[in-house]
Amino acid sequence: MNSNNLLQPDWEHKKHIKLVFIITAILLLIAFFLSMNLGKVKVNLFDMVNILLSKFGLTDGFAQDLVLEKETVFFNVRLPRSIVASFVGAGLAAAGAVMQGLYRNPLAAPDVLGVSQAANFGVGVAIFFFSAGTLFVQLTSFFFGIFALVFTFLMVSRIQGSSITNLVLIGVIISAIFQAGLTLLLYLSDPYSEMLRINYWLLGAFNTVTWSDVQIIVPVVLIGLVFLSVFGWRLNILSQGDEEAQALGINLKLWRGLYIFFVALVVSVATASVGNISWVGLIIPHIARYLVGSNQARVIPYSALLGALFLLLIDTVIRNLPWGEIPISIITSFIAAPFLFALILSKKNRRSLFK
């Protein structure tokens, strides 16, 4: 039998996947343009090009004619905000895909590591003890996120046969501790100032985003995404189970450590900058797998693309609600919870969810 003929359907399949990637990328570009354009101040493509050109000092002439308001809205508010929303969405979704593969559990999410909860606790500490400004809150949050990660690793290395179950248990323990710590801080804080600020931060907000957030988030998420995508195919092997992966030649501790490190990096930077955005890391990889199949080499980059699109769209919508902006986590939860419900009910997934 000629093996080339048998591979033919797969090349067709690859074309289809390419198309899915391209369409999503185009949708992302359109969404990005819309997010720039929509709002109280309409900024059209012509304005955007002019403002950008003048910002790079390429056209003095045009810039003078521009309305200052448009420039402020577009360049100082919407552009950094939408860049951050896209990168946070991309980072969280890719991180979720990796966690699900690594933990061999379709319900795993970046939160499983306890990193998000630790980062949240950091927000509480910074605001409660130091009445800190934005940058300090972010740094504290990031510090606690990384601390949770290092702590996880120390615990795991002390336990014999560092299985995935142990990792999950340690994640649960870490989450519980930091959750309790945060609750304590909230209980002790002044309900009219600190508590409001902590809560608002934790609900997830893009309205405070500035170019300094862009400078932190974009490089970190980009590095994480590049690593996770480049080494995506290997994750298929780790998804087969610890011993099988080792027998197939994988240095388990090294690779699991690397994946978790980059996931935690991306998640803690995202949480530290814009608060807790729930569910993105859980549902986007499922949609991605539905559209491009389960090969992690495709799921991870495609999750990133889809996550960026998803969060950018939701952010654009909540920014333009007639009754004013609401925290983004409310919407992501409202969309994701029914989606997960449908997922559990669908026959196709039931087997893998409740194995």
Binding site: N251, N295, K355
Partner: protein, 257 residues
Amino acid sequence: MIDVRDVAAGYGGKPVLNNITFSLPKGRIMGLLGRNGCGKTTLFRCMNGLLKPLGGSIRLQGRDISQLSQREIARTAALVPQATAAAFAITVKDMILLGASCRIKAWQSPGRMLEEEAAAHAAEIGVLPLIDKQFNELSGGEQQLVLIARALMQNTEILFLDEPTSHLDFTNRYMVMDMVGQLAQEKEMTVIITAHDPNMVLEYCTDVLMIKEGAMLALGPVAEIMTEANLQALYGECIALKETDFGKVVVPARRRS
């Protein structure tokens, strides 16, 4: 080909396996017999580099595996685990391709050359018609065959099979084992199989190692070692060896005849 010398192994410093010594020349198929919990799996894990022995040495193709990286071990000996459902949907072809991971760089994914090799191995094993199906939708026997094809992707001369037939139905057992026997012969592979069914060992293996309570009970060619006395020493009085028209067959001893 495989040299195991004075191996002791266990968990948390407590040995469950002691003084295991054997060597298996190229092209032989050795069955590993023993009751549940006797240390068969522990020995297997040591030979794959999944567990560090507490003492002794294991050499595969003349190389001490304690000196080899996990990747190098995977290029020397391939393990066929018991088939279980994959956590995520994965096609048969992608499953077979996972075997190529020890042959490519960390950042690479298998290219067209390896995909064609995977198709060739699938054809060899007889699962080519299934290649675009989902792994989880196959029967147990078919899954086991796919995992053998995956092991072949590792391009090794040594093959370890961990109870490849214990959860298969009668037809599938013989389908899988016929394939293993055929491969070993055609490719001159050296094979070790852990087995629960002594009849499988009688029919397909050239050598046998019996392990009882962590120690070697008997070792040698199947014809010499698979005696009723040895089998009863291993499994107890409940077992008997009968001559039939199809050769020796292990039967339950308390059955009225």
